[in-house]
Symmetry: C2
Subunit: 514 residues, 2 copies
Amino acid sequence: MRAWRLAVGFGVLAALLARPGEGAGADPAVDAARAFRQAHGAEILRSFAELLALPNVASDLPGIERNALFIREALAARGARTELWRQDGVPPIVFGELPAPGAARTLGVYMHYDGQPVVAADWAQDPWQPTLYDGALEAGGRPRPLPVPGEPIDPEWRLYGRGAGDDKAPLPAILAALDALEAAGIPRTVNLKFFFEGEEEAGSGHLEAYMREHRERLDVDLWLVCDGPVHQSRRPQLVFGVRGITALDVTVYGASRYLHSGHYGNWSPNPALLLSQLLASMKDADGDVVIAGFYDDTIPPGPAERAALAALPAVEEGLLRELELAPGATDGAGATLAERLLLPSLNVRGLVSGAVGAGARNVIPTQAEASLDVRLVKGNDPQRMLDVVEAHIASHGFHVVRETPDAATRRAHPRIAKVVREGGYPAARTPLDAAAVQPAIAAARRVAGDELILMPSLGGSLPLYLFADILGSPVVIVPIANHDDNQHAPNENLRLANLWYGIELMAALFTSGG
Amino acid sequence: MRAWRLAVGFGVLAALLARPGEGAGADPAVDAARAFRQAHGAEILRSFAELLALPNVASDLPGIERNALFIREALAARGARTELWRQDGVPPIVFGELPAPGAARTLGVYMHYDGQPVVAADWAQDPWQPTLYDGALEAGGRPRPLPVPGEPIDPEWRLYGRGAGDDKAPLPAILAALDALEAAGIPRTVNLKFFFEGEEEAGSGHLEAYMREHRERLDVDLWLVCDGPVHQSRRPQLVFGVRGITALDVTVYGASRYLHSGHYGNWSPNPALLLSQLLASMKDADGDVVIAGFYDDTIPPGPAERAALAALPAVEEGLLRELELAPGATDGAGATLAERLLLPSLNVRGLVSGAVGAGARNVIPTQAEASLDVRLVKGNDPQRMLDVVEAHIASHGFHVVRETPDAATRRAHPRIAKVVREGGYPAARTPLDAAAVQPAIAAARRVAGDELILMPSLGGSLPLYLFADILGSPVVIVPIANHDDNQHAPNENLRLANLWYGIELMAALFTSGG
């Protein structure tokens, strides 16, 4: 899951153990899943290790093909009608259909079977040689053999290997849940459609094309996007949205050549100061954006989202400590982090003019450049958001251009801003009170009880809008992996307690609603 | 002349020919100087070429020694009592005294005989093989032999070689003026003290020590600092001051590690925006500094300076064209450049946070750093000016520190600014109506007539305050070289018309006043 890479690793946050089951309602499917993994944990891990042994970098097409065939085979073995959808020279989609006799609802299940590239030398082991450890490496965990059938399994053990968390973890959960229901004779209540992507970590460059080509086959009532980690408090969560994103670069100009600051300073315009004044005008002292129209299209959280926000565990104090920030240092006048994630944001990601420190020279720089990213929430159109930022720049006296201005343009306009707009995509957010997600919420609650966190939106950006906009169905993100799974990093791993939770969750989801 | 390097090269400015003599009063000394160089131009150039053939980079002590001996010998040949003042391992001072019987006034004459290092490959010739060209290289000038005695000499010829303009040019002017007066039987009216430095281009690291050691020998009525180019309009000028300088670096902080802009943007503080807001608060829309107390100590120009400012040739329109700036783009609400140079300035010379353009990432930077230089005018103390800037930073809610803050400091203060202060030195400015400079003004006017420009201050900075503060005498800068002499660059040169002007000027100065 690309955009989440910086979300992990809250080492100092309370390491709450997820306690699936506490406070949960009775559910034969969940019981069956638990019994099955208690009886067959060793086999589940062995099969998962086989999958993890297959290198899965999207650019390695032969390796990707072996993964796709393995997964297709595993789904077919559970009775699914499977297909590999192909486009030239890119990883295939593994598609599968598993109808449930008499079921009225269909769940779409998305995961991606490709993983991040590896720098093998940085790993404690071969990244493609999955290895079980008796705890987290960072906490002194040591390698141990895979358990033999019947051997007790500690849920704090972790299986290390590329893709263990991001994002092969959902597969053993799905397969074991299907096997558990089959073994217990519990029928699924929903039809399933599997839609597994093989190039998410390479940018999902063909996801939209695959969706458009197979739009009718991908008609479901709800998409379960199985990716990402559970909450950093270790509590299970369902996530109902992500933010969109766009970005722009702004360059303002002084004289056409570097000037001696003594001979021309405070006469010839200083672009670093002009840009500072422009950026300063975009936000107030609380860090709220004061650009006209910036918040106008924002769809605010409804009652269900507000209730979910109120129920979130407080992370702010721990974060301030972790990030070495003083109380009062944050933007938003005391708003919680999750509240801020439901607003569009404007971030100065870079600012460069002249040189600082030992490289500083007594000159007036010729230009100053800022790079801004804009995170979008439900209601914000990427291009319109860039329009309002650009209108703000123009309203501060800048003549806006698209290319580096020539001499005639410079001579004609006292203030010039070159604005280079990036593309971007909108946010996606499923209302927490949407009918389509209620069975999923109820199912997750049967597994996780009061521990379940309902997260209205992540702060990061993923093109989830494709599911909503092209396929026309609501989406809920269903994370399984531990938050400290080292995704995108060396020593990626899956904590077994999280896999056990995933199996129960899938069993509950596959028998959810009516 | 180190700090003036960026002042040269106004290629598009009207190339007014300096016309020494027009409108000038009759002066036998000036006439004698003109007649002498008309009769002996070839010999003057030949002797100057010998000096230019001596490599004079300050770090090349054997080369420097040869220059010092040459100059001492030349002064001694004109009857001066000469000395070489030495400190270990650095270039010597060439000192000389040439009394005038019955004279009441003493002029100190400063120049520096060292030059900038060279990159020989960038030159059209060997930089230490002085070569005469029949015009500026940039205008198609071609090398030609030095003239033979009696051969007519075109004043637009140029002599190329390191140091030709900066700053060996005064020496042939001084020597020829002495010879001309001697030949015409015109007695000098002032005593002369020569104080020639050999490491100006290396930072004048021992100038102050030499001054303190020989303070009593350096007692004069007026210092003529012979350095720098004439006005960019090509008109002769006397310059009565330079600005001082100091500088500071300001760093503000966000979280202690880079953060994902989606997950934390607009909650965790953005240091690039905080710094922009801080910098923006330092100046108004006109580019005037709004820091409390910034202008308080400034000694404004008096009536004589204001009259000189009013008489300056207008350079602004040409500069705007040259620098590709639109009318109205400059700071100061229409003030002239020279007016702005009589105010202290605050220049953002660098600004860096995160990355821009192709290197931009969707993160919140951990810090933002700005580097500022502050030019000082008469009345401003460097440390006090830094104090008022720092007080401004504190008044905007920043806890000011000297070192990179540790975690405890970060946790204790919502806003932190690390301020690293540089040293610096004050301005120097001799009032235009000071009695000591009137004879020099009158002398220059006898040579240059109405063309003479009286410049109250340069924008750049030189430690001229040493002459005023340590030696206790007023200073006037007496430039000779053409403004387009490529000083500090390859193909440095002296236009012969400027040398001829210098000879007449020295003759007038040496017979000035009463």
